[in-house]
Symmetry: D3
Subunit: 190 residues, 6 copies
């Protein structure tokens, strides 16, 4: 395990955390084999931690038309536009796993227009990138473009909310200098 | 009351909402005399609603060195940079009330560098605007500039988290075309 | 009356001004009940003052198809894009009065795409914003879009000239740190 | 003489113009040997024409510390940033003549940082470019930088007003597709 | 001859250069009457010099559908977007000569949309400018727009390669502060 | 092997290529175990191919103070800024190998400010990114910042030339939709 600092801010010991937060972290560790640093970096603010992960789960774990891989594509593409190292590396790993495709995360991160994804998925990412970069200009035309690719109103909300939530996450990660765990880099590549 | 659409997406009837959400909305209505539209627009997704307001409260209602007015300044300045009508109008109202100053919200929204606020508050907003607009480039120099004005590490986190959270909120409001309630425009002006 | 500085540069006493300038200022004061600071800030350069207001009047007081409220919409939308506190606050007041609508100025300033205005007025502001932000790229398509909404060639000139003139005014106000009079903030709100 | 269109909008015959405007145009023609197109393009709006040239003369012909060549440098540098063909070509000619330097206009237009001008003039153009491109962010530091090069408060106003006025002019010229007279291209080159 | 520095970096004596490089330089001098500074500035790195000019010649001297003047238009338009003084001045001279048009280089440099060129040439420059400024977003639509104006696949490659090569050249010239020879300014103007 | 298209343009058969180009390609294949697609995509233009690789080798294989890993860092950081999928993936692989560090390429690509590299290397990348994104503004201060970290004048040239050359390469790859070979993704990760 790497001993580099995982945050510009102090991070708590797991043993000092409120029970519910410690339990969540231990459950993740059990499942993944390591504790993703975002849990430790955000745990110093328990109420914010709880809200952050409740929001995350509401968007990423809920049922819906977007596949889990598609949701991760949104995270990866917008996070590279925001130059967020933690989010691209960590969610790149999840994208590779969800899509069962070792190449897709790097492709989507760097330039999704050239990725091995469908035209429908490119339209989804066009919309997500506009949410990330100039949401103020989104209008009926943008929603119609989604609809033309078969996305429903609920899907449009999902794309928006995921791009918006991770825009927040990207900013937190960049200011805290949140370090991606070494483990993420290789996940899903083989 | 104005009958213009408050969202591009359908909004639920208050009577159809889960109990906890309906209770929160009725409490706000009781206190404010009207239901701010953000509650109705987000209520169609109960889990996201709960997480959104839990996060909001964790940042805006918690104790801390930043005054309530200062937190609202961050919201107002960054929301105008993101061209978010709902957030500038609604939080502009709250800022006027918190600061007991009828002019401050418009000043901070349009160009905080010219507002009737302290140099320390301008430094706070310089940092918040960088979080909103290019968080990827924030470095030690930016944190040192905050520190030179007496902001602690906890304050830096607060400024960051508020700017990041409302960056998410701005994007949701812009895509949904969330309409500010007419009531907000005059609050705190007299 | 607020005694904050109204300009980064010295401002003359009304009594020291050339007769024509003093007369104009007194006439405005008579009509409005106060002297808008732009008159005092620019008065230190009498020739520039005369040209500025002659130009202003030629664009804003002349007959033409654009209503007075529409002209003020152009000023308000482009001035917020240029982050000009004086112009948004002062012309926001005039817009509220001209449109007899207490909400419209804040809406148009923050994001005109969501304002309670007609599609034709949004097309007018699309054009005006392009004049303000990238006039070099305006081409036949942009003029055709205006024409499709019933704007004549004379109207296109008016929109252009108003956006261009207030782009100058925004820059003067930002460099001088021209302070909006306190009186403007409430005008037309009730 | 080239018979290409000089404006996207109709231009009047000189003989149809109000006396004062016709007189001014004939005087310029007498002096220069041709009528610069800006006079014809703007003449269709006599009141705007009068205000435009009164403003122009107040800034460009008045006494002051900035040399006439320096004023033209401001016009040329900011007009290329705004991609204004008329202004770069016409004022480039005037700059060459005022500075008695056949190379300077092209240098200043393309990248003033590499031009054969003094460090003081580069500081003047740094300020002028900031007025043109992001006046909202101009602060005490920018004025102090001017002052460190010996520019007075009056000079700062002059630089500002010239950059702002020609920013307006650039926008008018770009929307009208104002064509530079062929004569300008060679003036001052030999 | 002007004795201003031609580069921020040391430049070799022609007599000290490898034979092939000296021969090339003397041949250019023979033909043009002077040695364009780019040869002297790059000669300090013989291998890079050879590759640079081999690439240049492969793009600019080869047969193909684009006329020599059209290739120079691409250089001039993109080089002004990159604010490269050397490239705009030197290739502006070549463009005037190739096109036998003393006005065209200044027009294309400042705003090609207003230049005396064909609609087909404007489409060529739209594409070239997108290569220069946001190549990552070029897609089938952009290539179809070229094709609609009769450009072949080979032409599309040529436009791309010229814009890309001179984007490199612009960056080298800006960092080295490569000075255009005085001789270029007047070439092709009379 | 993946049979996806490697270029938007036709690519030649290796057997049809001129001897020197075929020999170079076979040598690369011998050494790497596969033919990087850039060789095939560019081979359709033999003269440009030769110049491109001669330039490449002159910058990347020559002796000098910058380590081979440092040169690749420049490629990777600037190529992600230009959203070039081929260059980030292919040179990311080379960077991992040169630096014997499986994590470094992703870190440098996404946000080099947070990468596990030295402050000196971050200064090198600050300069390289300015060459890539706004070379026109590079001045003595930027060179002094390099010098303060011990970079020589030759090093400054190297950094500049590498950033400029790959800026060209990024544009070629984006317009051709050059596909990174599948093999690159895993190289140097284990």
């Amino acid at each position: 395990m790497n001993d580099a600092k995982i945050s510009r801010f102090p991070t708590p010991q797991i043993s000092d955390l409120p029970d519910d937060i410690r339990a969540r972290i231990l459950a993740v560790q059990e499942k993944s084999g390591f504790v993703p640093n975002v849990f430790l970096v955000l745990a110093r603010r328990p109420d914010e931690f709880r809200a952050f992960f409740a929001y995350h789960d509401a968007l990423m774990d809920k049922p819906g038309n977007l596949t889990k891989a598609e949701r991760e594509m949104i995270v990866v593409a917008t996070s590279n536009a925001n130059q967020c190292q933690y989010c691209v590396v960590a969610h790149g790993a999840i994208l590779r796993i969800r899509a069962k495709n070792p190449l897709i995360a790097d492709q989507v991160a760097i330039n999704y227009r050239k990725a091995d994804i469908t035209d429908r998925q490119k339209a989804m990412l066009d919309f997500a990138m506009k949410v990330a970069l100039k949401a103020y200009a989104i209008g009926e035309d943008d929603l119609a473009a989604l609809s033309a690719h078969g996305f429903s109103e609920e899907d449009a909300w999902d794309i928006t909310a995921i791009a918006a939530f991770f825009g927040m996450s990207n900013r937190l990660a960049n200011v805290t200098s949140m370090r991606p765990n070494d483990e993420f880099y290789m996940l899903g590549r083989t």
